[in-house]
């Protein structure tokens, strides 16, 4: 996984609540067996018309937002299906940071597995930040210091320290868990005597 570096970018603002993962990446693109290449289909049904032509006024189709690395969106972002294709599509498009007042749990977790930082901020702060999108001004997201800098202002954000460490160091979850192999083996031993039916299938 890529290490998370400080981002400086003009954020794209999508003022819609309950953006579900079907919206982020519709099912016709879930037939892939790869993780990459989904960026062009991100927000497909909002971004392209029925003939597959780009809808001109959709924010991610317009400059400079077609190069945004930060997406600001309405609450409960990423609800619905567990498809990890949603963060893959965001990442492939170039978005490595999402800002919202809340997320659905599965999507939130999926972000961290792919080097994307989902930031939670109160609604009022979101409104403030979205002004920078409208004015096409850059903001800076610094994970190390848990700070967003915009103009002369700063906002601090909260994040789970372990998740932060994994993002900053680009740690591989599986490798970390495999280090606990002796504990897993010990657990399995106990399991086969306490709940033997689990292995008996």
């Amino acid at each position: 996984m890529q290490k998370f570096k400080t981002i400086k970018s003009i954020p794209a603002y999508l003022p819609i609540v309950n953006i579900d993962t079907d919206m982020i990446i519709p099912k016709q693109f879930l037939k892939t067996i790869k993780r990459t290449g989904l960026g062009k289909n991100l927000f497909y049904e909002m971004r392209y018309n029925e003939k597959g032509e780009p809808i001109e006024d959709f924010i991610l189709n317009t400059s400079p937002f077609n190069n945004s690395e930060i997406l600001i969106a309405g609450k409960n972002f990423g609800c619905g299906s567990s498809r990890e294709h949603a963060p893959w599509a965001l990442l492939d498009f170039g978005i490595t940071c999402v800002v919202s007042s809340s997320y659905a749990d599965i999507f939130y977790n999926n972000c961290f597995k792919n080097g994307i930082l989902p930031i939670v901020l109160p609604e009022a702060k979101i409104k403030e930040l979205s002004e920078y999108s409208k004015r096409k001004e850059e903001i800076i997201v610094n994970l190390e210091e848990q700070k967003i800098t915009f103009g002369n202002n700063e906002i601090d954000f909260e994040i789970d320290q372990f998740k932060k460490k994994c993002l900053l160091e680009g740690l591989d979850d599986i490798a970390l868990s495999l280090e606990k192999n002796p504990k897993i083996t010990e657990f399995e031993k106990k399991l086969s005597s306490n709940r033997p039916w689990i292995f008996n299938d």
């Binding site: 003022p15 819609i16 609540v17 309950n18 579900d20 079907d22 919206m23 519709p26 099912k27 016709q28 879930l30 037939k31 892939t32 067996i33 790869k34 993780r35 049904e45 029925e50 309405g74 609450k75 409960n76 609800c79 619905g80 299906s81 567990s82 498809r83 990890e84 963060p87 809340s102 997320y103 659905a104 749990d105 599965i106 977790n109 999926n110 597995k113 792919n114 789970d160 320290q161 372990f162 979850d173 599986i174 970390l176 868990s177 495999l178 606990k180 504990k183 897993i184 657990f187 399995e188 399991l191 709940r195 033997p196 039916w197 689990i198 292995f199 008996n200 299938d201």
Partner: protein, 467 residues
């Protein structure tokens, strides 16, 4: 300290806990389907890792499979590749797979319980948000992403942080024509699509325990639509009877041991919950969704809401957006809304009892002339059972199409989909924009309500057709 059922299952699966609460949990049962697994297997291959416990995983192709004649295979090249990739991966890593021509093939959340793979007190995961379904058996079951699928395959564990406890109590009795689908729709309407975010829900109360095993699955299935990753119900004799003798259920002395363990799975009387909501059965009506989120729900006697009555700006905008997408006007009686299609199926309502419910309404009647209606049984075994009971004939005689099992128009990944602006009464679980096909308009209902809509040609009250 008194514990909830969720606390107990958590504790019994704890392999390791860090100081900050990040925990490694043992996974007892892992279900895999073709859409969310290819990249996970690819990841294993790239890093030279093996599957730790292949026989704790069960795989099936369901999302992409055609529900028409299967003898010619899959015509869509990408779908075909995905299904074949699953077959190859299962063979390479030694995982049991129900192939497309296996009688036991079906929707992943239907076949788990059917085979007895789903068991009380276990942790069950799948790369699919409706894994919550299995919570009906008193297991902790939740959806995971593809990276986590890879993690489970490699380590048989998952890294988690504990959720909070949320209890939803439903007491009383269901009125005639009202089903567990209406109960869960009403719950989601009440708590909202994010009401359960960060929680595990335990459904309790006399109405919940009066439900059959399959009805309980419908409730737990839609837990994710209320934002909670998992919803569970204390297991009881009905669950044990349902599981006994199923192919993958414990046998002989293991059955006795399992039963002993399962019987103790309940929240302590004085356990405390971080959040509680109570509903009374007599207030629950047949429900239908009008918008593009499962929380946009009203009773069948209701009218489409008016965004102008909303104080909250976000809510107002989202109602306006939904109504525009759905092609509906505020104030319209929902019963006056004409439909084009009816879909009966999915992991929410594609089991035998659901088909019986719908068949009872449809029997000796014809569907409206302008309506296309389909039944997609949840699995090959559900289909077989229904045919033994003659339900296929009842449906076909009334004008329904009788299909092969799979996810079908629940998410429209195969050829079954709505055309733009087509309106559908659907027994599935999501009415998101484009879910059943680009521009398609979905109204979520129970199987009986779907049958009533098919006959009337518009959304209608199932109680009208109750004998």
């Amino acid at each position: 300290m008194p514990k909830t059922l969720y606390d107990k299952i958590w504790d019994d699966h704890l392999v390791h806990a860090q100081e900050d609460g990040t925990s490694l949990l043992y996974v007892d049962r892992h279900l895999v389907h073709e859409v969310t697994s290819p990249q996970a297997f690819e990841g294993l291959r790239n890093s030279n890792r093996k599957v730790r416990k292949p026989n704790l995983t069960l795989a099936v192709a369901d999302h992409n499979v055609p529900t028409s004649d299967r003898s010619k295979g899959i015509s869509d090249e990408e779908s075909k590749l995905q299904v074949e990739t699953l077959e190859k991966n299962c063979e390479e890593f030694g995982i049991k797979l129900f192939g497309m021509d296996d009688k036991r093939q079906g929707i992943v959340h239907i076949i788990g319980p059917e085979q007895g793979f789903t068991q009380p007190g276990s942790i069950i995961v799948c790369g699919d948000s409706h894994t919550a379904t299995h919570g009906a058996f008193g297991s902790l079951a939740f959806g995971i992403g593809t990276s986590e699928v890879e993690h489970v395959l490699a380590t048989q564990t998952l890294v988690q942080k504990k959720s909070k406890n949320f209890r939803i109590k439903v007491d009383g009795k269901l009125s005639i024509g009202v089903t567990s689908k209406d109960v869960i729709l009403q719950i989601i309407g009440k708590i909202g699509t994010a009401g359960g975010t960060g929680y595990v829900i335990e459904y309790a109360g006399s109405l919940i325990s009066s439900l059959s095993v399959e009805q309980r699955m419908t409730i737990c299935n839609m837990t994710i639509e209320g934002g909670a990753r998992a919803g569970l119900i204390e297991p009881d004799q009905k669950i044990f009877d349902y599981l006994k003798g199923r192919p993958m259920a414990p046998k002989k002395e293991n059955w006795d041991k399992a039963l002993d363990y399962w019987s103790k799975l309940k929240s302590d009387n004085d356990a405390s919950f971080d959040k509680e909501v109570t509903l009374d059965g007599k207030d629950i009506m047949p429900m239908v969704t009008w918008g593009t989120s499962p929380q946009d729900v009203i009773s069948i006697d209701g009218r489409i809401p008016n965004p102008d009555n909303e104080a909250d700006e976000d809510r107002k905008n989202s109602i306006e957006r939904s109504l525009k997408y759905m092609g509906l006007k505020p104030g319209t009686a929902i019963k006056d809304v004409k439909i084009d299609k009816v879909f009966i199926g999915s992991c929410t309502n594609g089991r035998i009892e659901d088909l019986r419910d719908a068949a009872k309404i449809i029997k000796n009647k014809k569907i409206a002339q302008h309506v296309y209606a389909m039944v997609v049984p949840g699995s090959g075994l559900v289909k077989q059972q229904a045919e033994q009971e003659g339900l296929d004939k009842v449906f076909k005689e009334s004008g329904f199409d009788w299909r092969e099992p799979g996810c079908s128009m629940c998410l429209a990944m195969n050829a079954d989909k709505l055309k733009p602006e087509e309106r559908c009464a659907s027994t599935s679980n999501r009415n998101f924009e484009g879910r059943q096909g680009r521009g398609g308009r979905t109204h979520l209902v129970s199987p009986g309500m779907a049958a009533a809509a098919a006959i009337s040609g518009s959304l209608d009250d199932v109680r009208k057709y109750q004998n």
